[in-house]
C-alpha cells in the first residue's frame, strides 16, 4: 500500500476545500441577512 | 458596403488623431525597447541562447506593450463623451470596432517592425533573409492581439483600476496567440529558417474566431 498517505491527503484536501467554500457561502449569507434587517429597520424608522 | 466605407472614415480619424500627437507610438516603442534591454540581463544573449529565448521574450514584450497601448482606445471616447456621438454616426456599430482594431493592428505592427532591427542587433539573430515572412507572422499575431484587445478595452473602460484590469483580462486569453506567434517566429530565427505554416494557420483561425465573436457581440460592448 505504497503512497496511501498521498491518496488520503488528496481526498482530505479536496473535501476540505468544498467544505470551507460552503461555510464561506453561509457566512457571507448571514452577514447579508443582518444587513437586510438593519436596512429594513432603517427604512421603516424613516417613514 | 456602408460598413466598410464607414469603417474607413473612422480609421482615417483614428490615424489622424495619432498622427497629430504620435504619443501612443513613441511611448510604446520606448516601452518595448526598455523591456527588450532589461530582458538581456536575465540570460546570456549569445546567438544560440537568443534563438531559444528570443522569440518568446520578443512576443512577451509585444503583449505587455499592447496591453498598455490599448488602454486609451475607448477611454479617450469615454473621457470626451464622444462614444454616443460615434455610435449615432454609423449604422452598424461593428464599423467602430473594425476601424479601431485596424488602427490598433497597424500601430502594433509599426512598433514591432521598428523594434525588429534593434532586437536583431542586440540579440545576435539574423532577420534580413526572412523579413517578409516575419512581417506576415507579426501581422497575424498583432491582429490576434488587437481583436480581443479592442473589445476588452471597451470593457475595462467601464471598470475601476482599469489600467490593471485590461492586462488581467487580456493576457490569459492571449495564451494561444503567444504560443503560436512564438513558435512561428522561432521557426524563422533558426539556423535553417522555415515558415511554420501550421502555426500561421492557427493564428489565422484565432483571428477569425474572435473577429466573428466581436461582430456578433460588438454592439453590446458599446452600451452605456
Amino acid at each position: 500500500m505504497k503512497n496511501l498517505d498521498s491518496v488520503l491527503a488528496a481526498y482530505l484536501a479536496g473535501w476540505a476545500i468544498f467544505f470551507v467554500y460552503y461555510i464561506s457561502i453561509s457566512q457571507r449569507m448571514s452577514t447579508l441577512r443582518e444587513e437586510v434587517e438593519r436596512l429594513k429597520a432603517l427604512l421603516t424608522k424613516g417613514k | 458596403m456602408a460598413l466598410f466605407s464607414n469603417a474607413a472614415v473612422l480609421l482615417g480619424k483614428e490615424l489622424r488623431t495619432e498622427y497629430r500627437s504620435r504619443e501612443l507610438l513613441t511611448t510604446t516603442v520606448v516601452f518595448i525597447l526598455v523591456v527588450v534591454v532589461l530582458f538581456s540581463f536575465t540570460f546570456d544573449p549569445s546567438a544560440g541562447e537568443s534563438r531559444r529565448f528570443g522569440p518568446g521574450l520578443l512576443w512577451l514584450s509585444f503583449l505587455f506593450a499592447a496591453s498598455l497601448m490599448l488602454q486609451p482606445c475607448f477611454l479617450r471616447e469615454q473621457n470626451n463623451d464622444t462614444l454616443s456621438a460615434l455610435r449615432l454616426s454609423v449604422r452598424d456599430p461593428f464599423a467602430i470596432f473594425l476601424a479601431k482594431l485596424s488602427a490598433n493592428t497597424l500601430f502594433l505592427l509599426l512598433t514591432e517592425v521598428l523594434m525588429l532591427p534593434i532586437f536583431a542587433v542586440l540579440y545576435n539573430v539574423h532577420i534580413l533573409a526572412v523579413f517578409p515572412q516575419l512581417v506576415l507572422v507579426l501581422f497575424l499575431g498583432s491582429l490576434g492581439v488587437a481583436i480581443p484587445g479592442t473589445a476588452f478595452s471597451a470593457i475595462s473602460a467601464q471598470a475601476r483600476m482599469r489600467e490593471l484590469m485590461l492586462p488581467l483580462l487580456l493576457l490569459p486569453l492571449l495564451t494561444p496567440v503567444l504560443l503560436a506567434s512564438t513558435e512561428a517566429t522561432g521557426g524563422l530565427l533558426e539556423e535553417h529558417p522555415g515558415l511554420r505554416v501550421d502555426w500561421l494557420g492557427f493564428l489565422a483561425g484565432f483571428d477569425v474566431v474572435f473577429l466573428t465573436a466581436l461582430w456578433l457581440f460588438g454592439e453590446y460592448l458599446l452600451e452605456e
Binding site: 467554500y21 432603517l42 427604512l43 | 470593457i155 488581467l168 483580462l169 513558435e183 460592448l221
Partner: protein, 225 residues
C-alpha cells in the same frame, strides 16, 4: 433551512458511498498502485468544473440576450463554484504527480489548460468586483465570459500542439476505453456525487447573489431618503 440540511446530509451519504467504492470496491490499478485512486476525485472534479463553466457560458449568453437579472446571478455563481472545483483539481493533481512522475508540476496540455481556465475565471470575478453599477457589471462581465469561454478550445489545442513537439513525461491516459467495470462504476458514481455537490453549491451561491442584489436595492432606497 431544514430542506437544505436534508440535502446536505443526503449528499454526504452519497459521498461516503463513493469514497467507499473508490477505496474498497474498485481494484487497485496494476501499474500505478493505490495512488491511482486520486483520479476518481481529480478527474471527476475536472469534468464537473468544465460543466460549471459551461453553465456560466450559458448564463452569460442568456443575460446578454434577455437581460434577466437571474441569468447574471447564475453566471457569477457558476464561475465561482467552477473555480472551487478547479482549485481541487490543481491541488489533487500535484499530489498524484509527485510520487508518480517525481515532480509536482509539468506544463502538460491538460494541466496548463486547467490553470489558464482558472486564471480566466479569476479575471471574470475580479472584473465583476471592479464595476459598481449592477446592470453594467452584469453586461460587461457576461461579454467577457463569452470571450473567455470561446478561448478554451483554442488554448487546449495550441498547448497540445505545442507539447507534441517538445519532450513530455509519459502520461497515463485518463479514463479511456478498456476501463475495468468496477472502476467505471466508481468513476460514474463519483462524478454523480460531485455533480450533486455542484448543484448544492450552485444553489447556495445563487441564493447569496439574490440576497446581495436585494441588499443593493435596499441600500439605494436608503440613500434616496
Amino acid at each position: 433551512m431544514l430542506k437544505s440540511t436534508v440535502k446536505a446530509i443526503g449528499l454526504f451519504v452519497l459521498i461516503a458511498i463513493t469514497a467507499y467504492l473508490a477505496f474498497y470496491y474498485a481494484p487497485i490499478e496494476k501499474s500505478m498502485g493505490v495512488i491511482q485512486k486520486i483520479f476518481y476525485l481529480h478527474v471527476s472534479s475536472a469534468l464537473t468544473s468544465f460543466l460549471a463553466f459551461g453553465i456560466c457560458f450559458y448564463a452569460n449568453l442568456r443575460y446578454v440576450f434577455t437581460r434577466q437579472q437571474k441569468a447574471d446571478w447564475l453566471g457569477v455563481s457558476a464561475a465561482e463554484v467552477g473555480l472551487a472545483f478547479i482549485v481541487v483539481v490543481l491541488i489533487t493533481g500535484p499530489i498524484w504527480a509527485k510520487p508518480v512522475w517525481g515532480i509536482w508540476w509539468t506544463w502538460d496540455a491538460r494541466l496548463t489548460l486547467t490553470f489558464v481556465l482558472g486564471l480566466l475565471y479569476i479575471s471574470y470575478l475580479l472584473l465583476r468586483s471592479m464595476i459598481e453599477e449592477p446592470e453594467k457589471r452584469a453586461l460587461f462581465s457576461a461579454l467577457f465570459g463569452i470571450f473567455a469561454f470561446l478561448d478554451v478550445p483554442l488554448v487546449y489545442f495550441s498547448i497540445r500542439w505545442w507539447r507534441t513537439q517538445h519532450p513530455q513525461p509519459v502520461i497515463l491516459g485518463g479514463p479511456g476505453s478498456g476501463l475495468e467495470p468496477r472502476m467505471r462504476v466508481s468513476y460514474l458514481l463519483m462524478w454523480g456525487a460531485l455533480t450533486g455537490l455542484l448543484i448544492l453549491l450552485l444553489s447556495a451561491r445563487y441564493r447569496l447573489e439574490a440576497l446581495r442584489a436585494s441588499v443593493e436595492d435596499l441600500r439605494r432606497e436608503a440613500e434616496v431618503r
